[in-house]
């Protein structure tokens, strides 16, 4: 017998029973180590996210601490941090709310058109174009809002102030340049639209054929089928899509900084005024130092918390209907 490795595996013991070749255990070991590596990698990735999140939070808190101990008179505005942050928190929320109110229904509509109405080839092109919108840099949106949209809207604002001025949010005098929080909200809506559309479309496309057919077989029109089978199935996903969009709207800096001529908090959406946290930070960061820097970072921390709270509320809303989610 030669000494080729492995040749001895095929021999048998004196009683004629085959000797163990260890193939079962060796393969198992290989599979197990691969599995272990993968689960380790997944765990590592999960931990990494938490570390990054935690690191950012710690950085923000440490840098923002000086604001807490500072004399209120030293804070910008002279009335303490609360008085400083409150108007820009409200401004941020207004701009993001306008964006979401405009973009969510429109995004769902566009997504439904792509997933359930358009002929297949048109739908693919159309979906690709919408995805392309998401790739446009925000400074380009800002420039477009500044140079094209705002002057156009200024005319409309004039009309609104004249005819609907009795409603506080349309109170005059309207901005002559159109650089208002409403314009900023509209630009944000355009930016958020591709996110909501893309995600919703993917979810709509995953609606089980079984449920669509169940609705159609009962004599539902296509619209009724969408109400019965597609939208309920997609509810969780639509909320997630809106939340991602909201995240972008809350945090968007460049476009708002360009489009909004900021100022004090005003109820009217068509006057210049209001400011968002992200734009406030971006506009003032280059020249800030010392306490002013801490203020801005504290403002960033507040934005961080707002985003977190909104997400938690959204998750809670979704989980209330878990029994009916169709996940079982």
């Amino acid at each position: 017998m030669t000494s080729v490795p492995g040749a001895q595996r095929r021999t048998s013991d004196p009683k004629g029973f085959p000797v163990s070749t260890s193939t079962l255990t060796s393969r198992d070991a290989a599979g197990k180590s691969g599995d272990r590596v993968f689960s380790g990698a997944a765990l590592g990735a999960g931990i990494l996210i938490l570390v990054v999140l935690f690191g950012v939070a710690v950085f923000l808190i440490i840098q923002a601490l000086p604001v807490l101990g500072a004399d209120p008179a030293d804070i910008t505005g002279g009335d303490g941090f609360g008085a400083y942050i409150f108007p820009i928190v409200v401004g941020t929320v207004i701009a993001a709310a306008i964006a979401l109110l405009l973009a969510t229904p429109l995004g769902i509509g566009v997504a439904l058109f792509i997933s359930h109405y358009a002929p297949r080839r048109l739908a693919m092109t159309f979906g690709y174009l919408v995805d392309l919108l998401a790739a446009i840099p925000s400074v380009v949106y800002g420039a477009w809002g500044y140079a094209v949209l705002a002057p156009q809207l200024a005319v409309a604002y004039g009309w609104l102030a004249e005819n609907l001025g009795w409603i506080p949010i349309f109170a005059g005098p309207a901005s002559q340049t159109g650089k208002t929080i409403l314009t900023a909200g509209i630009v944000l809506a355009v930016m958020v639209l591709p996110i909501i559309t893309s995600l919703s479309r993917e979810i709509f496309l995953q609606t089980p054929t079984l449920h669509e057919e169940a609705a159609l077989a009962m004599g539902a029109t296509r619209l009724e089928m969408i109400w019965m089978a597609v939208l309920p199935f997609a509810r969780t996903g639509i909320v997630s899509a809106a939340m991602l969009g909201l995240g972008r709207a809350l945090g968007e800096t460049m476009a708002v900084a360009l489009v909004l001529s900021g100022g004090a908090l005003t109820a009217s959406l068509i006057q210049s005024g209001n400011q968002t946290i992200a734009a406030e930070i971006a506009l003032n960061f280059p020249e800030a130092y010392g306490l002013r820097l801490s203020e801005l970072i504290a403002a960033g921390l507040v934005l961080f918390v707002i985003t977190l709270v909104v997400n938690i509320i959204a998750r809670w809303i979704v989980s209330r209907h878990r029994d009916f989610s169709g996940a079982n």
């Binding site: 297949r120 089980p208 169940a214 077989a217 004599g219 029109t221 309920p232 199935f233 009916f324």
Partner: protein, 259 residues
Amino acid sequence: MSKRIDVKDLNVYYSKFLAVEDVNISIEARSVTAFIGPSGCGKSTFLRTLNRMHEVIPGARVEGEVLLDGDDLYDPAVDPVTVRGQVGMVFQRPNPFPTMSIRDNVLAGVKLNNKRISRSDADALVEKSLRGANLWNEVKDRLGRPGSGLSGGQQQRLCIARAIAVSPQVILMDEPCSALDPISTLAIEDLINELKADYTVVIVTHNMQQAARVSDKTAFFNIAGTGKPGKLIEYADTTTIFNKPVQKSTEDYVSGRFG
């Protein structure tokens, strides 16, 4: 509330591919008719042409006539939505709407067709439909719970309740028991026997014992080979099909010599 179906010279196409060729068949009102045949022979496709559900697949079209008590389903003036309201369907896999409660599932079709229905009328309809589907006693205490929480057999009976809640003329069943265990299958078969009193029932099945147990008449479909159209080979009383069929291929199939 039950109508007969007469099919004349029906061809079904998927784009250019002829899937089912030249079917002529008359299905009596208040009877159970079973379609049997090997996989891919076009029996499900043909079943779907009876309520125009095949049109859900892009490129599907038919030539010929399907008459529901003399009215052609394929008349250009006919809306498929109206057809499906009259010809209900139960699918292979139970598909109650997962986001709706048991009660809302039963009422789904009724709410489509309008009409505001008073709460007491709705309650009565839910009970009647669920009783009709032999499900009432099992779910009467949890009508507000999601339909997806029921067992497979219960879900399928819920789907039948949903179908009969709109008082259709015809109920089509596409292998309604193929995803169910024998006990649930028996429950559905008993139900089919009861449904016959009020509805025209057409059922596609792979299970020949099931066809023999539940149907009055049986249609055997076959296909000459891959890529060839499916054809209706033989249509007769169920006892005839299973005991002394005329066609050789029918005999081979029901006796288990092929397929």
